[in-house]
Each structure stands twice: as C-alpha cells, then as structure tokens.
C-alpha cells in the first residue's frame, strides 16, 4: 500500500545537510577524544574550562600531549557552538514538535558532555568513573545527531510502500536490541580503555554484538528488498567486521606495547580507529533502526496505524 506524504520542504533539506555536517564534525571530535586517551593525555592540562589559565593557550604550551588535549577541547568548543546553531535552526525551521524536543536534547546533551569532560579533568581521582560515561555520552550524542539527519532526510518524507515487519523476532525489535547491546559494549570497551576492568568483558560483548549485527543484517537481507534498509544493513555488517579486525589488532598492539616508555604507533592509531569505527557501527545501526520503524508496520496491525509516532510526524509535516 502506498502512503502519500508531502515531500520535505527546502528548509528541511537544508537542515539535513547541516545535520550531516555536524555529524562529520563529531566524528572529528571522536577522533580527537580517542587520541587523548590513546596518548594518555587526559590530565596534561589540569585546569578547566580554561587551559593554563587562558582560553587560547600560548604556542610554547602547545607541545607534547597538550596538543591532543587542547585540540580536543578546541574541537569540542566548535561542536558545541555548531550544535547550538543547529538546535536553533531546528527550533525555528522544523514544524515538528518532537524534533524541537530532540534539538533541545542535543543542545543540553553537548553542554552536559562538556561539563562531564570538565569534571573528569578537575577530579582526576575518579578518572574511570567519569571517563566511561563521558565516552558513552559522546557516542550517544553522535547517534542522536545521526538520527536528526535521518529525520530531516528526503527519504524520511518520501513516498514509500509500507511492508509488514513479518517474522519472529521482528526486525524493529531486533534492531533495537542490537542498539542496546552496542551501548553496553561501548561501556565495556571504555571501561577497559580507562583501566576499570580487563578486556574479557569487552571480548564477550564483542561476540554478542557481532552476532546480533550479523543476525539483524541477515534478517534485512533475507526478508526485505528495500534499499533504504539494505544499505545500512550492509554498512553495519561491513563495519562490524572491520571493527572486530581492528579490535584484535589493537589488543595485540597494546600487549606488544606493554613495556614501552610511552604510547607509540601502531597502538595509538589502532585503538583510536577502533573507537571511531565503533561509533560508525552504532550510527549505521541507528539509521537501520529508524528506517525499519519508518518503513515497516508490525504484523497484524493495519498499515495506516502501524507507527503512531511516525503518523504524528507526517501530520506535523503535512
């Protein structure tokens, strides 16, 4: 059955491009954050929000590990400001109420994330207890911006043929479960990286998450022909395989580097890449989950009543 929904207006497409730009900035910020941890630079600038008592540090201070920590702060500032502008644009240009709420959440999310980062600097004794939520919120914030990019995309508004989410378990539930597992895996990975526990929980989590992603992607590829679902499924599948390979290499690089007097390559690049590919995997699963909720209706329900939240979104758009 065809649903005829009005195609997105110009401002929404413009917002979509803005969201993609912001997501790209966040990837850069994630790289910068991962480099701080991999280089053990987290405490190299002991004050916050200023750095050595200044907003812009002297060039003579921009040395050694300070380069990583200060760059992370600087890029975070750019992301924070860009998120503020993006939230303002959504607030004034997007007619959907729930989008406005998500924009406010994104803004307060980035503010909270900056504050947690500051507390991490000011309370070094609670490094792991603060750094792990900091890592989790960073990737969740990235996922939220990716979600906003999906909600503002042309595909979200386009006409589509709604399909039944047939089979047990349903794709929607499976995808949601996989995202939950990915978030737990993020915590296990961040805990290992920040010295809260060993690698074993993260390895067990990796097996579980890989199995779930392979299962979810297989369900998509077997049951559905829609390219809007197949593309993120293929992406998640590809990324999880890259991620497993990076994880194995990063672990052995870390073992080999155990006696080194300082963090060195290839350990730094491998561990930082592992963090970023993990975030991209989460993003691919978020896209897949949102599209599955957008395109599929639960079995047994009438198609037009299939997704109340989406129906509401259409009403707001039309």
């Amino acid at each position: 059955m065809k649903n005829h929904v009005e195609v997105a207006t110009k401002p929404t497409l413009w917002l979509h491009r803005f969201a993609i730009f912001l997501a790209f900035l966040i990837v850069i910020l994630l790289v910068a954050g991962a480099l701080v941890t991999s280089n053990e630079a987290g405490d190299s600038v002991p004050d916050w929000p200023l750095s050595f008592g200044r907003w812009v540090i002297h060039s003579e201070n921009f040395i050694a590990n300070v380069r990583f920590e200060y760059s992370h702060r600087f890029i975070a500032g750019i992301v924070g400001f860009t998120t503020f502008l993006f939230a303002l644009c959504i607030w004034f240009l997007d007619p959907r109420k729930w989008m406005k709420r998500l924009a406010v959440l994104a803004f307060f999310g980035v503010v909270a994330q900056a504050a947690i980062g500051g507390v991490r600097v000011l309370l070094p004794a609670y490094k792991a207890a603060i750094a792990v939520p900091h890592a989790l919120i960073a990737q969740s914030f990235f996922a939220l911006i990716v979600a906003l990019a999906v909600f503002t995309s042309r595909g979200w508004f386009a006409d589509h043929e709604e399909q039944a989410d047939a089979g047990r378990p349903s794709l929607r539930r499976l995808a949601l479960l996989t995202i939950g597992a990915l978030l737990i895996q993020l915590v296990l990975g961040a805990g290992f990286r920040h010295g809260a526990w060993g690698v074993l929980p993260h390895v067990v989590g990796a097996v579980m998450v890989a199995a779930l992603i392979i299962w979810t992607a297989s369900v998509v590829l077997i049951r559905h022909q829609d390219s809007d679902l197949r593309r993120p499924a293929w992406s998640a599948l590809f990324l999880v395989l890259v991620q497993i390979a990076l994880g194995i290499f990063a672990y052995f690089a870390r073992v080999a580097a155990k006696g080194d007097p300082q963090p060195l390559e290839p350990m730094i690049s491998l561990t930082a890449s592992h963090v970023v590919v993990g975030a991209l995997t989460l993003a691919a699963m978020v896209v897949l989950t949102l599209r599955s909720y957008r395109l599929l209706a639960p079995t047994g329900d009438r198609v037009n009543n299939a997704a109340p939240d989406l129906a509401a979104s259409r009403r707001a758009t039309v």
């Binding site: 201070n61 998500l102 300082q262």
Partner: protein
C-alpha cells in the same frame, strides 16, 4: 521508539557509572596503619641494628627502549640518553628497588616525622630520582629544572590525588602525603615517559637501591620483620628476618627478567600491581 532508545541509554549510563564507581581500590603492604590507635613514641635503647644488601639481576637485562621526545624540542636538547629507565641494570646489579620493612617494632612505635623535605626534581624531562621514599607527613618538594612546562600528577589510592602544572622557573611545590602508601605512581601527562614512584611509610626504615644495587636500612629496633624489595616492573620479593640488638644483617635479593606476556587469559591489567 525514541523513548525506548532514551530509556536504554539512561539505564546503560547509570549501570556504567555504578559499575565503574564500585570498583575496589588496591592496597599495598605498607598501608595498614589507617585506623590503628595512636602509637607510643619510640625511645632508643641504643641497640638498633642494620639491614643491608645488594639487589641483583639474574639473566640478561631487557633492552632499554628508545624514548620519542620529538614532541617537545626542549626535552630533545636537555635529555641525556633518551632511553627507557624502568629497569636499570649495571654489572648484574639492579637500581631503583624500593626496600622497606613491615611488622615488628616498625609498626608498633611512632618514630616522629623528619622536618627536612625530600626533593623530586624534573630534569632532562625525567623525574630525578625515579624512585624515592618519605614518611607520612614529611614534605615532598617538587622542582622543575627544565626549560619546559610539566605537570606533576601522583595517582595515590589512599591519599588525595592532585595534578599541578609547573612552568619553567616555577617556585617549588611543597606537598605532603599523610597516609602510608606503597608505592604511589607519579606521571607527567604532558611527557608520558616521565614516571616516578614514591613510597610513603609510617616509619623511616626504607631505602632505594643505588647504581651498584646496594641498599642499607639503619636504626632498626631489634625485632622480627618482613623485608620487602619492590621493583616497579619486576614485582616484589619478601623475606622474614629477625634483627638482634646492634646486629648488622645482610639480605640480598635477586630479580629475574619478566616472563614474556602470553595473553592466554585475555587480561591486560592496566593498573599498577602493588605489593
């Protein structure tokens, strides 16, 4: 669906915070003074003894690894050999082993707190000395002789943690650790190869092995002790011994190269393993 995702995220954040916060802290062998009643002041009977010895290294010492100091031109010009110094062996003798006693009269009496400060300098982008000891409540004077900025960041488990910047020509920092703790790692997070270890004890019976591997602990009241020799990467050795009145006891220790790490358990323990 967004509410479901939000709920999942909230649960994971709370669980993560609780899991990480509930992690028990590690404790060293010299850290047992907390909560004990006030000790009697030690009165010398002029019968104190001495423990001395040599710390040996059996086998081939590990190759000293090159340090990449290129991130800071000041370090490149001021540093010496630019090689790792965690395991320093000279003619089969091991340097920088922290040797101390526990038990016996060392834990029973109050030996007072020295008024002179123990100096930790930052020179050539290294900590000098790399291993040092002081008494709880004694002043630690941290200096920066380098023409670059450092940050001094001890990570104790029982004493308050602090992290302070020291620019070149900065006035010395004066700090105290009030609780016994062996050993407190100190790092400069700007120059990650810079590491020191500080042993904080309730008594003055400790020493650090010199270049020739020798150490000497003087003024020990007669009694039964456990002598501990701790090396930051090679681990620790223990020996029970009795020191008689005015006795000079000799106790050597031998350390071996660490067995290559085989990741059978898939566990990398990132934290320092304390004695």
């Amino acid at each position: 669906m967004i509410r479901k995702l939000g709920l999942i995220l909230l649960v994971v954040i709370v669980a993560a915070f609780m899991m990480v916060s509930c992690k028990p802290r590690k404790k060293g062998s010299g850290d047992d003074d907390e909560g004990t009643p006030k000790k009697a002041k030690y009165v010398s009977k002029a019968d104190e003894g001495t423990i001395s010895g040599v710390i040996k290294f059996d086998g081939t010492p590990p190759e000293r690894k090159k340090i990449d100091m290129s991130q800071d031109a000041n370090c490149v010009t001021s540093a010496g050999d630019k090689l790792s110094d965690d395991v320093l062996v000279d003619a089969g003798k091991l340097q920088n082993v922290f040797v101390y006693v526990t038990g016996g009269p060392a834990d029973k009496f109050d030996f007072g707190t020295p008024t002179d400060a123990v100096v930790l300098d930052q020179s050539g982008c290294r900590y000098e000395p790399r291993v040092l000891g002081l008494q709880a409540g004694q002043t630690l004077k941290v200096m920066n002789s380098d023409k670059t900025t450092h940050n001094v960041h001890p990570s104790p488990s029982k004493n308050p943690e602090w992290n302070q910047v020291m620019t070149q020509n900065a006035a010395p920092l004066e700090k105290k650790f009030t609780k016994p703790e062996t050993l407190i790692p100190v790092k400069c997070n700007q120059h990650p190869w810079m590491t020191a270890h500080i042993g904080v004890l309730a008594h003055p019976f400790f020493a650090v092995s010199g270049k020739d591997g020798s150490y000497s602990i003087k003024g020990l009241p007669p009694g039964e002790y456990t002598l501990i020799a701790y090396h930051e990467t090679l681990g620790e050795k223990r020996q029970k011994l009795t020191v008689g009145a005015k006795e000079s006891k000799t106790q050597d220790f031998s350390f071996s190269p660490k067995v290559a790490f085989i990741p059978t358990s898939l566990e990398v323990e990132p934290a320092l393993v304390l004695p």
